[in-house]
Amino acid sequence: MKVIHKDVVVIGSGISGLMCSIRAKERGLNVLVVSKEPISWGNTRISGGIIASNEFDKQLFIEDVLNAGRKINQFDLVDLIINKLPNEVETLEQWGHTFLRSKNEPDKKEYVQPGGHSEPRTLKALNRGISISNTLKQKFISLDIDVLEEVLAVNVLVQEKQIAGVLCYDWKNDEWFGVNAGAVVLACGGAGMIYYPHTDNMRSATGDGYALGLRAGAKLIDMEQIQFIPFGIVSPRGMRGLEVGDTSAAGPYGKLVNQKGEVIEDRPFNKTREEISRLIAIEIEKGNGTPNGGIWLDPTENLEHKDGMENWHHWRSIGTTDTIRNAYGVKASKWEEKYEVSPTQHYVMGGLHVNTFGETQIQGLYAVGENASGFHGAGRIGSMSLFEALTFSAHVGNNIRLRGKKMTLTKQDFINERDIMMTAYEGVNEAHPVVLKKELGMMMWQYCGVIRSEEKIETLLHGIHELEESVKKMKVNFHGNNDFFLHLFELESMLLTSKAVAISSLMRKESRGSHYRSDFPSENLWWENKNIIVFNEGDELKAELMPNEQHYDLRQ
């Protein structure tokens, strides 16, 4: 087995993994990026590319974030990212990305105001997220940062609560690597696949970072907070779950209509993602949905108004109407007829519990982007994921500290770790991980999707347990192109992430932000400053309450 020595290992290569590794490399650190997909093929690449900027009224910005987060945000992170960190969107342009300019004043960048923002502070990308992704990749390549591309980081190794290294597996060539590291950054992105097909995420978003972190002994926070964006494609089946905008994509005059023809929401435009997702899900559960399992979004009245048409032009400029056209045809994409929508999983607000340097409870283990949690709290407004990921991962890369005590894992240490992996699976396969992944996705959507209850979650936990038992019986042949192991690894990440979502959702006996319990349908003051933490104890996943003691006064 080849053993490599690095200062910093970054796992993942979306906006966070790239930005963090660039900053660390610029400081002269010896950096390795391990990415199971080709470098830069994360959710960043397929995002709309809209990104907020912290150059305007910071107090107002903080209020917007806390408002969406329903007061369970970690205030130190909010204060740091908005008040103290530099505006990195400028950096993106210096490296070659282009933000759209105003039509009337071509010298000035055009700022827009997505739902939940109190002023225009959001920039739109030329050619959506792919331009941001390619810009960062180009910078990354120019710095000659080492990569293990299309290689799995299988296990983060810890000794005495300090980071030690990473065990990696190239499943295409059946080759193992041991990497000694002074610091490890989890930048694996979200976990949309736990709801597949009801998600707009990339296939690779399987919660790997949450699972790696939990197994290493770090803690997750707010895992019940999963964002469902209200307008996802319902049909055709192959496009199910793809995102076609948040509430403001209805236009100022759009309305929601059920299968009986009743208007269930006259003006979703100014409502939150959470409110409208919930409303649609409840209506569908009542049996008033379309035969395909959606609700009608009727945007046609927008065409009669100037501001309605302006709004349509906005959605066209960020490519959303292309998705509508591919699914429902030209007329729907021009808002000349109604089309079916249903909520779809969009983002995981929960994640690894980190301090203001991105560090977890394990010294030298960091998390950034969608893997980290605390900034968004119980809800995230549009254009904030790329903003938070870019700003915070740059800061983490700038300040990353290598763990104090020198600890070097020997080749034999890595071989022992590998053997534990290889001997864990010596049963008889009753089902393939690909099939079990699909079963899990259906279960999560049904029992821990937009509408949750104690009864549903208990059913889900039982189902997860059965899948776990099937996994324990798996047999893996370690030779040749071993994509079976890739799917199995992803399935296990998905199971652990799903369980964390389930036990957190069970514990929060109220409805707050994106978390809705039909048996506790309102927000409860008692829960206002409390977070739920998930950690591994023995081989059990446990949830417990953590008081959020970061008091803040918006009027300061």
Binding site: E37, R45, Q94, N134, Q138, G238, V435, N481
Partner: protein
């Protein structure tokens, strides 16, 4: 119901690719090639390997040869009798998956990146740049290029890399001329380029001719 038979190229234990026929029920008329492959994977043979990412043509991972043409599986309707193969010209990893790692390596060796940050100013976005910027690295153009040979990339880079170079050349703030580099990468071999891009980038017009024309000017 929609029962169809399709032919998918599979890698055998001898590391050769051979067509295997599958009879599937697509469930609905709008089904795509990607859905058909997923149906095979989930219901008939889970060992079938294929790449995909976003399901709406944004990521560029699912390009494959469908009825003889490179297309994106997620946006191509499946039809009875279709053949589905890996892209030509690029080494096969397994079934319909071809290698990708060489793209990053070659981008590094050709130095297809800006070496200095821009001076601060703004410029209007030009249309060629906007169109070139749509490239998703799907590799379709490489599979169609008669000059491209993966083992001879030191002599000839291939259309994907000319697109990358043109992105640098046409960037609204660019002040460097990359024509010399284009010559070194073998752009002059492409005067008769017939590559087609699934994203509609006119590769010859925007990524080849501008360099060839400039080289002619220099040489005259």
């Amino acid at each position: 119901m929609n029962n169809i038979t399709i032919y998918v190229s599979r890698t055998t234990s001898d590391k050769e690719n051979k067509f295997v026929s599958y009879e599937i029920n697509t469930g609905h008329e709008e089904a795509t090639v990607l859905e058909a492959l997923q149906t095979i994977q989930e219901e008939i043979d889970p060992t079938l390997a294929f790449r995909y990412g976003c399901r709406f043509k944004q990521c560029g991972l699912c390009a494959m040869k469908i009825d003889g043409r490179p297309l994106m599986a997620c946006m191509t309707k499946i039809k009875d009798g279709m053949t589905i193969e890996p892209l030509d010209k690029i080494p096969i990893e397994k079934d319909v998956i071809v290698e990708r790692k060489f793209i990053l390596e070659k981008t590094r060796t050709y130095k297809l990146y800006r070496e200095n940050p821009f001076r601060e100013k703004t410029a209007e976005i030009n249309l060629p740049y906007e169109i070139l910027n749509r490239c998703t690295d799907c590799q379709s153009c490489l599979s169609l290029c008669s000059n491209f040979h993966i083992e001879k990339m030191d002599e000839f880079a291939g259309p994907l890399f000319f697109v990358k170079l043109a992105q640098l050349q046409f960037h609204p703030l660019n002040e460097t001329d990359y024509t010399q580099k284009a010559e070194e990468m073998g752009v002059e071999k492409c005067a008769d380029c017939t590559c087609r891009c699934p994203y509609g980038i006119p590769i010859k017009k925007l990524a080849i001719e501008p360099f060839i024309n400039k080289l002619k000017e220099i040489k005259e």
